[in-house]
């Protein structure tokens, strides 16, 4: 028996058009399954992305430095009072080449990296120690999260890229209040006069200092007093780093450590619970996606399956008059496929309608979220599930019926 697609289609379309209610029920089942799948997954995905956008940036910043190795005394100002020197993460540290910044910035898991210089010195008049921090105001991503940010301002203005080389600085609120400084004051630091342009009150940050200035200015003040360092090209003692997100931070850190065994990381561990939470929500998302997919397939198959089971007697008739198992199976498969794909198209349309109409705010509970759209891969998934479900729903009972002897199938009422 030669299978002719045209004849198969003639029989399949006849079955579909004559048994309207059964066809409609099957199409409706696929419609519901696809629609629920798309709407649920779209909203769930939006919720997951939102969660990720919040938690993903928690604690993802850190300071890279090299703890001071005793013996490397040439890095310190020869005549400086005891207790002065490069200082990072609460310890004396060694200066190193700014080339490391480029290397760190090129790591895939790093969002931004910028140079930092941090120096502890003693006031010439009050003999009090204070910490100078020098950063690049043109790198706000890594600077704002690791040192201080414009949002931390309590008076004056923040450092700007235009302050490069200028004798201006900003100070921490506690430091300036103890010293009685206010915005506009002119203060002498390391023999040069500086203007205080802003006062900040930053939260806990890994690279905090008492006063901050542009890195070029800070370098001129500190490093140029150490000819040995300049000659060696070691002009910074820290790198401010913002990693892409919590879940990749450990990878970023381990890649940074691979650049030099002397490099140490100073940051806060709050990215760990945050990234654990992301990982939980990610796993939940995929697990639920899988469950929904299985449920959608089973739901859509169920109606299809029972409608084919009802047709056992008809299949028996076709077998009795000489239709081959292959012809019967292909006809049922074709019917299933057509119904599943029609249901899928309508399901996609209804899902788009629902997703467009329902404000995401109602679902995720966040007013900041903009509207969402169904991603293309979900449409593809819906088509694959429908077609796969349709084929499976068709082939199982079709093969089952085809396996039976005609007389056996004819006894089925």
């Amino acid at each position: 028996m030669k299978i002719n697609v045209r004849e198969l289609w003639e029989c399949a379309s006849r079955e579909l058009s004559r048994r309207k209610s059964r066809t409609m029920a099957n199409i409706a089942a696929y419609l519901i399954a696809v629609c629920v799948l798309l709407v649920f997954l779209t909203f769930m995905r939006a919720s997951r992305d939102f969660n990720r956008s919040i938690l993903g940036s928690v604690g993802t910043h850190f300071l890279v430095y090299m703890p001071w190795e005793s013996g490397a005394k040439e890095y310190f100002i020869p005549k400086a009072p005891t207790g002065e020197g490069f200082f990072a993460a609460g310890v004396f540290s060694d200066p190193f080449s700014p080339n490391i910044v480029k290397q760190i910035a090129s790591i895939k898991e790093v969002k931004d990296a910028s140079p930092y210089i941090s120096y502890r010195m003693q006031g010439r008049e009050d003999r009090q120690f204070f910490l100078i921090g020098g950063f690049d105001p043109a790198s706000p991503v890594s600077v704002n999260s690791t040192t201080c940010a414009p949002a931390d301002l309590v008076a004056g203005r923040f450092l700007e890229p235009g302050d490069k080389g200028k004798n201006v600085f900003i100070a921490e609120q506690n430091y300036s209040s103890v010293r009685g400084y206010s915005v506009g004051d002119r203060i002498r630091i390391l023999g040069e006069e500086f203007e205080l342009v802003g006062i900040v009150k930053p939260a806990t940050r890994p690279a905090r200092a008492d006063i901050y200035m542009d890195i070029e200015t800070a370098t001129r003040l500190i490093v140029n007093r150490m000819p040995a360092n300049v000659a060696a090209g070691n002009t910074i003692n820290g790198v401010l780093v913002e990693s892409k997100e919590g879940p990749v931070q450990d990878t970023a850190i381990s890649k940074i450590r691979m650049l030099s065994t002397k490099l140490e990381i100073y940051g806060f561990g709050c990215y760990k619970p945050a990234s654990n939470s992301i990982s939980v929500s990610e796993q939940t998302f995929w697990f639920l996606t899988l469950l929904i997919m299985i449920a959608a397939i089973l739901f859509s198959m169920k109606t299809q399956l029972s409608s084919v089971m009802e047709r056992q007697h008809d299949i028996g008739i076709l077998k009795a008059i000489g239709w081959s198992n292959r012809a019967i199976t292909w006809q049922i498969l074709l019917e299933s496929l057509v119904q599943s794909l029609i249901g899928c198209v309508f399901g996609c349309a209804v899902a788009v309608f629902i997703v467009t109409l329902v404000p995401l705010r109602l679902v995720v509970g966040q007013p900041l979220l903009r509207g969402t759209t169904i991603p293309a891969f979900l449409f593809l998934l819906a088509v694959l599930i429908s077609a796969g479900g349709g084929m499976l729903a068709g082939i199982v009972p079709a093969l089952n019926a085809a396996r039976k002897y005609p007389a056996e199938a004819l006894r089925h009422i």
Binding site: R19, G316, W323, N325, P406, L410
Partner: protein
């Protein structure tokens, strides 16, 4: 009679045919080793009471289910050894079957039910349709081509079933009480149509009945009793 003449002469030979069914784990012997020989063009009727195994026998002969044991040889080929596809091809091209309860496809109209046999036979759609219309005209249903089985009387449904059985011009027709569910007048008409067709084409007919068919029309009459066939 030499071997060749025998092959031409007998279209069907049945040897020691047995069929058992299992009902609630209990074995029921329906056919207990019967033998039957049918010559090409012969009209055979098998009579028997309800429950004697007539329908089972016709199902086995038509290849609709396998026997428990024994041999059915159709035109020199042992049916027991044929594959599913070969059995389908045999039913598709060489045999026709008429059921007592018609067994028409409920969602296909009269014409389509007759056409069903002609699908996948490489016959173009228009010729397929033409042939179905001719056959339905032949059984007096030329004006009911587009009616679904549910819209036809029992007699009309059985006439559609007869037309369907004749559509592929079979060498042998198996009929399971073809007039069992219709009134005597319609039964007479169906019998007339059937015999007129097979008479013109020398088609073999094997039918079972519980007695409503005029036995005089048949060349050989068998009686099925206690699972054994007797002349």
């Amino acid at each position: 009679m030499d071997k060749k003449e025998k092959a031409v002469g007998n279209i069907m030979e049945v040897r020691n045919l047995k069929k058992n069914f299992y009902l609630k784990k209990k074995e029921i012997q329906v056919l207990k080793g019967l033998d039957l020989t049918v010559r090409r063009g012969e009209k055979v009727v098998i009579t028997g009471k309800s429950g004697s195994g007539k329908s089972t026998l016709i199902n086995l002969l038509a290849g609709l289910e396998p026997p428990t044991s024994g041999e059915i040889v159709f035109d020199g080929k042992l049916l027991n050894g044929l594959s599913n596809n070969e059995m389908s091809a045999l039913r598709h091209r060489r045999t026709g079957i008429i059921f007592q309860n018609f067994n028409l496809l409920p969602s296909w109209n009269a014409c389509e039910n007759v056409e069903a046999v002609l699908f996948f036979s490489e016959l173009p759609r228009d010729k397929r349709r033409k042939r179905a219309v001719e056959l339905l005209n032949g059984v007096g249903l030329g004006d009911r081509l587009d009616n679904l089985p549910a819209e036809l009387s029992m007699g009309q449904q059985q006439r559609v079933a007869v037309a369907r059985a004749l559509a592929n011009e079979p060498e042998i027709i198996f009929a399971d009480e073809p007039t069992g569910d219709v009134d005597p007048e319609t039964a007479g008409e169906i019998t007339k149509i059937l015999f007129s067709w097979i008479g013109q084409r020398n088609t073999t007919l094997v039918t079972v009945t519980h007695g409503e068919l005029p036995l005089g029309l048949f060349d050989t009459v068998y009686s099925l009793r206690d699972g054994i066939l007797r002349k």
